[in-house]
């Protein structure tokens, strides 16, 4: 969980490629310029925000369908939204690492059961492993 940016060596023509990887790919050199790194992280956070919003939309849609199908009641889902408010906000802002800690330390309550908590945790853990 400490990816770095690497720039392609000896590209035959045009702009070199940049990779965000855990280890240095063959034919690439680590980028050390602070301004470039900041610029590249800004792009990464845009991806993280987009992915967080998509996950949240999917999660919210699933709960709404659960209500329609009689799996949960309106009141249970409203209570869930209140309980995981911080988690939702963090994912909506692309802060997956923060959300990882938030979900991990959040107690079970109502329909936020251990099963649901573990499922969310697995999704976040996987995302963090692949993108941080």
């Amino acid at each position: 969980m400490a990816r770095k940016f690497y720039i392609e060596d000896n590209v035959s023509s045009g702009e070199p490629s940049i990779k965000f990887e855990l280890t240095k790919p063959s034919g690439f050199t680590e980028i050390t310029d602070a301004d470039t790194i900041k610029e590249l992280y800004l792009i990464q956070y845009k991806y993280r925000i987009k992915d967080g919003k998509e996950w949240l939309l999917s999660f919210t849609s699933d709960r709404y369908i659960d209500v329609l199908n009689g799996v949960y009641t309106d009141a249970e889902v409203f209570a869930l939204e209140t309980h995981i408010k911080d988690l939702q906000e963090q994912l909506n802002n692309g802060c997956w690492l923060t959300a990882q800690n938030t979900n991990s330390s959040l107690g079970v309550s109502g329909i936020y059961t251990k099963s649901m908590k573990d499922e969310i945790q697995a999704t976040i853990d996987s995302y963090v492993a692949e993108n941080y």
Binding site: E8, V11, S12, S13, G14, E15, S17, I18, P25, I43
Partner: protein, 193 residues
Amino acid sequence: MGKLVITTENGSTLGNPASGEFYIFIDSNNSNKYTLRNSAGSDTILGGAVSGDMLASTYDPTGVAQDVYNYANALGLTQIPTSQIREYTESGGVSVDFDDYDPTTYNVHFLNPGSHDRDFTGIVAPSAGVNRIVVIINSGTNKKLKFKHNDSGSAAANRIMLANNSDFDLTKGASVQFIYNHTEDRWYTYTYY
């Protein structure tokens, strides 16, 4: 839109129209002149012989008049021949990406990523001096074509440059056009819907 067809007739044998009607014809009995004849049989010469400036090959040698009645042509729209459209479904496993995608002679590509999201890292570059625009449409159901900015998954000259150096996802039904830049040796986004 209907057509008015004027044919060649022999004015000496054509006869006369009914009362209140007129014939317009090319009179082979009078040097192929455009002729108006009334029901009394009186002729009025409307124009020169058919070999003159009324001949389509003379007044409209490139068929522009016909284009006026063709909606697409009149608007200057390109009509894409079927031979330029390709439909392709990728059926490979999750790790199969679109690297160095070869558009061959097709300009419009309906690409179905199949059952997995697919990274798309590049398109085979056109030969030097050949300008190309390639259209890609995600014709799949619910999987994405994930376009990767300047990604080394494709050969340098085949890579795609995306706005703000950012990757983007092409979802179901969305389309993007790329144009090749021979100075930068890269494809650039032309339009994105």
